[in-house]
């Protein structure tokens, strides 16, 4: 029987961490993810879980210690946001290149400067080429469900890559919403025991981790890492299927909301997808053929699947909660359009930048975007390819 509760995103992920009860968690406080190590520490203090918590002196050290613990044979995780993730950057690459299946729960917050504590995706997007699987949540329920699926994906022998479970800072992490939780034993069974084949603490079977490599090996190692990332796509889908069988909730690489016959589709990621869906419901009532493609899995990037999903629409709005500073749009703008091009899908597309550093994004914004797409297609209105929403 599902347990009906009301929780914030941080509470939901912390609850899932308690249920999984990993071996080691090093963490360092940073808004808005701080509550996660706080809540985990409280669970431990109250004897409700027995993960070894390491109160490290920086995020660089939290990822370093997580790498050490995972290589040692312990299921490990950490949590962070924003500058914390940026400080980990070097270590994110090492977690992936050492093929360590650890998990990071990221509570998305903008990167400095200026220093600002609110949500955008610049932290997660900044880590997009570090070799981590990245899964984004729309709400607390998805953050919870995604976390439960994280270790089975990461630890699959076809993958052996670290997984980042992302939720929007404050909007998801701190807002209390209804949630359906799973029973502890169901979660434990689903995630299973961690049984690595080779690890540092295997008596009599020493291993060596983190070599210097001449170029004759390094390029091949990087390709192997890339293959693992490609493999992860089918594993993510397999785990989602198993999760559906257990929990009844369905997940894919992305969610297609009323896109079947849609002329105009908004591609969006994270909590703003909820706003977009509500706007679509209202526009549908007015007879507008609009839909939402909510991206869940950003790494591996499902370019082919997105191209397939968008190929029949007339125009797509590609929504970036992040600026790339490349003079040409945001990260989703670049990757989605490249995917459309490679798969010969020639539709109109506009890259919108929205919600930076916690700027509001509302139903009326979604309506304006769809209206603009329609104006562009029907009336031939010229629209800039790289537009800011709600910029003064």
């Amino acid at each position: 029987m599902a347990i009906k509760e009301r929780m914030s995103g941080n509470e939901a992920v912390s609850y899932a961490i308690r249920q999984v009860n990993p071996d080691v968690m090093p963490a360092f406080p940073i808004t808005p993810s701080t509550e996660i190590p706080q809540m985990v520490s409280t669970y431990i203090a109250n004897g409700e879980m027995d993960t070894e918590f390491i109160p490290v002196e920086s995020e660089h050290s939290s990822m370093s210690a997580a790498i050490g613990a995972e290589a040692a044979g312990a299921r490990s995780l950490t949590a962070t946001s924003s500058a914390g993730l940026a400080l980990m950057w070097e270590e994110l690459l090492l977690a992936a290149s050492n093929r360590l299946p650890l998990v990071l729960t990221l509570v998305n917050r903008t990167l400095s400067g200026p220093i600002n504590i609110n949500c955008d995706h610049s932290d997660g997007m900044g880590a997009r080429d570090t070799g981590w699987i990245q899964i984004y949540a729309e709400n607390n329920q998805e953050a919870y469900d995604n976390f439960i699926q994280a270790y089975p994906i990461a630890e699959d022998t076809r993958v052996h890559l670290p997984v980042m479970i992302c939720q929007d800072g404050f909007i998801t992490s701190h807002a209390v919403e209804n949630i359906e939780l799973l029973e502890d034993d169901k979660v434990k069974n689903f995630v299973g025991e961690y049984e690595p084949e080779e690890f540092l603490l295997n008596p009599g079977k020493p291993i060596a981790v983190g070599p210097y490599s001449v170029s004759n090996y390094a390029m091949e190692a990087k390709k192997n890492q890339e293959i693992a990332m490609e493999n992860s796509k089918e594993v993510i889908l397999e785990i989602a299927k198993k999760f559906k069988d257990m929990a009844g909730r369905e997940y894919g690489l992305f969610e297609e909301y009323k896109t079947q016959d849609a002329d105009y589709i908004m591609l969006i990621m994270g909590s703003a997808a909820g706003t977009a869906k509500q706007a679509v419901d209202e526009l549908r009532e007015q007879g507008k053929k609009v839909g939402v493609l909510k991206l869940r899995v950003f790494r591996p990037f499902p370019a082919k699947e997105i191209a397939e999903a968008l190929k029949n629409c007339k125009a797509a709005a590609i929504m970036d909660r992040c600026e790339s500073y490349n003079g040409n749009g945001g990260p989703l703008g670049s990757e989605v359009t490249a995917g459309l091009f490679y798969h010969k899908v020639n539709i109109e597309a506009v890259n919108y930048i929205y919600g930076l550093a916690g700027r509001d994004f509302t139903i009326s914004d979604v309506n304006s975007v769809f209206a603009e797409l329609e104006d562009m297609v029907v009336n031939g209105k010229e629209v800039e390819q790289h537009k800011y929403i709600r910029l003064r």
Binding site: R99, A208, P211
Partner: protein, 101 residues
């Protein structure tokens, strides 16, 4: 499967390398012969040696094997010829000769 590094070389295809370039074994460096670097070579005069073993810990390359508290011949596969051992020997039992002998 423990790593057999004799099956790994600079022509090995990517799918035959170890995951994350980890090595699932210890002490595999023994197969790399640093003795080729030598420009000077120690010569051991066993007759002069009093087995004090002062030479054994000072070797940066563990190339003075010890068994039953007695030093054996140099491990010429790995000795780099630095000459530290010859310098510490109180009995002149190690002589440095020019070249890689």
């Amino acid at each position: 499967m423990r790593t057999d590094i004799t099956k790994i070389n600079e022509k090995t295809p990517h799918d035959r390398l170890t995951e994350g370039l980890m090595v699932f074994n210890g002490g595999t460096s023994k197969l790399f012969k640093t003795g080729e670097w030598r420009t000077n070579t120690p010569v051991f005069h066993a007759d002069l040696c009093k087995q004090c073993l002062l030479c054994a810990p000072v070797c940066p390359d563990g190339s003075i094997p010890v068994k039953d508290s007695k030093r054996l011949e140099f491990d010429m596969d790995h000795c780099k010829g630095c000459g530290i051992c010859a310098n510490v020997c109180p009995f002149g039992a190690i002589e440095m000769k020019e070249g890689n002998i």
